[in-house]
């Protein structure tokens, strides 16, 4: 197990958003996390990446507890999050944003990586000298995904990466996710587009207001009736 969350409880002020959650992310596999609005998915990611501190429970990464580490130490360990709501650096250009993504890297291939993502999302190349804050919503989303990838993480956590993207780009993103997975990176994916997500995923978890209700093989989930009803749009 690359990542193992045990009985995690997280509170905002006094109110628990996660109420004792356990889940596992296997190395080299893609795990997806589904759930309705406010279930606590983003809260979980924020806790793993160190932005929130758990009230109880453990987060084991490669066997050691990272619950108490600071965000930057966690990033250095290879866990990177692409946050919900894009969160690009608005006053820096697209190019500078990408370079920021590679902050923890020390190698010299940064330029090549940037070029690679430019190929994948040509609009970013076109806008490379524009301030990121002035990009359209979708452009920002693409930038956020690429920026997360720039650090070459071991565990990539994506929070609704397809949000606000045109269908054609969504397909591109999923293709990319698949390629990343195939290159050996472990992925924890939060998606509202449950069907697509389960298709690329190996495992899936379903969350409901602070609890995990189902955890199963992705294929099984895709077929499960309850899941179909609640998360795959009824019909």
């Amino acid at each position: 197990m690359l990542l193992e969350v045990k009985d995690l409880t997280v509170k905002y002020d006094q109110i628990a958003a996660l109420k004792g959650i356990s889940l596992q992310v296997e190395e080299g596999k893609l795990t997806t996390l589904l759930g309705s609005n406010g279930a606590g998915k983003s809260t979980l990611l924020k806790t793993v990446s160190g932005a929130l501190k758990p009230a109880a429970g453990e987060i084991l990464y490669m066997g050691s507890n990272i619950a108490k580490l600071t965000s930057h130490d966690i990033v250095k360990k290879g866990i990177v999050q692409c946050p919900e709501g894009r969160k690009v650096f608005p006053r820096q250009t697209v190019y500078e944003n990408l370079k920021m993504g590679a902050f923890v890297r020390k190698d010299r291939e940064i330029g090549e990586d940037i070029e690679k993502y430019y190929q994948q999302f040509p609009i970013l190349k076109e806008r490379r000298n524009q301030k990121a804050g002035l990009l359209s919503g979708g452009e920002q989303q693409m930038l956020a995904i690429c920026r997360a990838l720039m650090s070459r993480p071991k565990l990539l956590m994506l929070d609704e990466p397809s949000m606000g993207l045109a269908p054609i780009v969504v397909q591109e993103v999923f293709k990319m996710i698949r390629a990343i997975k195939e290159s050996g990176t472990t992925i924890l994916l939060i998606e509202q587009n449950a069907k697509q997500a389960l298709k690329v995923a190996d495992f899936g978890y379903i969350m409901e207001v602070g609890y995990i209700t189902i955890g199963d093989d992705a294929k099984a989930l895709l077929k499960s009736e309850t899941v179909q009803k609640a998360y795959l749009g009824g019909a």
Binding site: D13, Q14, I15, V209
Partner: protein, 331 residues
């Protein structure tokens, strides 16, 4: 039924509180303590006006002391030079200050938070230097002596004791007015501006108009507070309206909790009373004040009665003792 009981206890508490407040002057040890109490109430009025600007409209105004000065001097000049009833001059001082505030507020429309903050300090300097230099009008650095005490319905409220009830009535009135404004749609418009100007503009809120109005209304109360204060000390001096004073007024609102009206009164009380306690320990006065401010901010970053302030700390404490406290939020 439960609601009724609750309402009853609330009423009872309010009644007890009222009696205590009304009888307070009879139990304080001396006139000095009374003076301090009166000052707390006068400063509360001003702190409330700061809260209106900062807590509700989100504009950091360090320049309230300038408006206190405008109110004070308008009142002092009018009262010492012309024969007009006290109450007329008093209200006129408020209105004149409101006008000044409105003009300045309207003038500062285009500036953003930080710029406005500095400019308000500039206003303090401009007003202070005007008061010092413009000797013909303001009697310059000498100040104006012999400002009359409040005269209401033929009574002259000269003693501290009498003034206590005047200040109390004034505070209650101002509190009521400000609270009504903040609870109305105009108050909500101010809060909307504070939270998100763009979304506010999309709700048909006229940003410049509201900001100017906020400055104007708040300045009315500031001016009234200033006039009441000079009616109390009976001497107007330009050296009362400094940047430091402006900072203190802001701190009252902030320490108490932005957006919380009782907070402003608490803040005023703290910042008037704590320096009194350290009056003879003057060597450490600033140290005491400084440490107090830092510590209070660390414990309640949103002010004592603000979000996650004293109340929440108390609730948490009680809960830790094992008592069940109703959670406000439904999950």
């Amino acid at each position: 039924m439960k609601k009724l009981v609750q309402a009853k206890t609330k009423l009872l508490l309010l009644g007890v509180f009222l009696v205590v407040i009304l009888l307070l002057p009879f139990v304080v040890p001396n006139t000095y303590a009374l003076k301090v109490l009166n000052n707390v109430m006068l400063y509360s009025v001003i702190a409330l006006s700061v809260n209106l600007i900062l807590g509700f409209c989100g504009l950091l105004d360090f320049g309230r002391s300038a408006f206190v000065g405008i109110g004070t001097y308008f009142f002092a000049i009018v009262m010492t030079r012309f024969q007009i009833p006290w109450i007329v001059a008093f209200l006129a001082a408020g209105l004149f200050t409101a006008l000044a505030g409105w003009v300045i507020g309207a003038f500062l429309q285009r500036t953003s938070f930080d710029y406005l903050t500095l400019i308000t300090i500039g206003v303090v300097e401009i007003v202070r230097l005007f008061l010092v230099n413009c000797t013909d009008v303001t009697n310059g650095a000498m100040g104006i002596t012999g400002v009359p005490s409040p005269q209401l319905f033929g009574f002259v409220l000269k003693s501290h004791f009498q003034f206590y009830y005047f200040a109390l009535a004034l505070l209650v009135l101002c509190y009521g007015m400000i609270s009504r404004i903040t609870k109305s749609y105009k108050g909500r418009a101010l809060m909307a501006i504070r939270d998100d100007e763009i979304a506010a503009a999309y709700s048909a809120i006229n940003l410049p108009g509201y900001k100017a109005m906020c400055f104007g209304v708040a300045s009315f109360f500031t001016g009234i507070g200033g006039a009441a204060m000079v009616s109390y000390t009976r001497y107007a001096s330009p050296y009362n309206f400094t940047i430091d004073e402006g900072l203190i007024l802001c701190q009252m609102a902030i320490l108490g909790g932005l957006g919380s009206l009782p907070g402003s009164i608490l803040g005023a009380a703290i910042l008037v009373i704590v320096p009194e306690l350290s009056r003879t320990a003057y060597e450490y006065r600033l140290l005491i004040m400084g440490i107090m401010m830092v510590v209070l901010m660390l414990f309640c970053p949103n002010g004592l009665l603000g979000r996650s302030g004293l109340k929440d700390i108390l609730v948490r404490f009680i809960r830790n003792l094992g008592v069940k406290v109703r959670e406000k939020r439904k999950v």
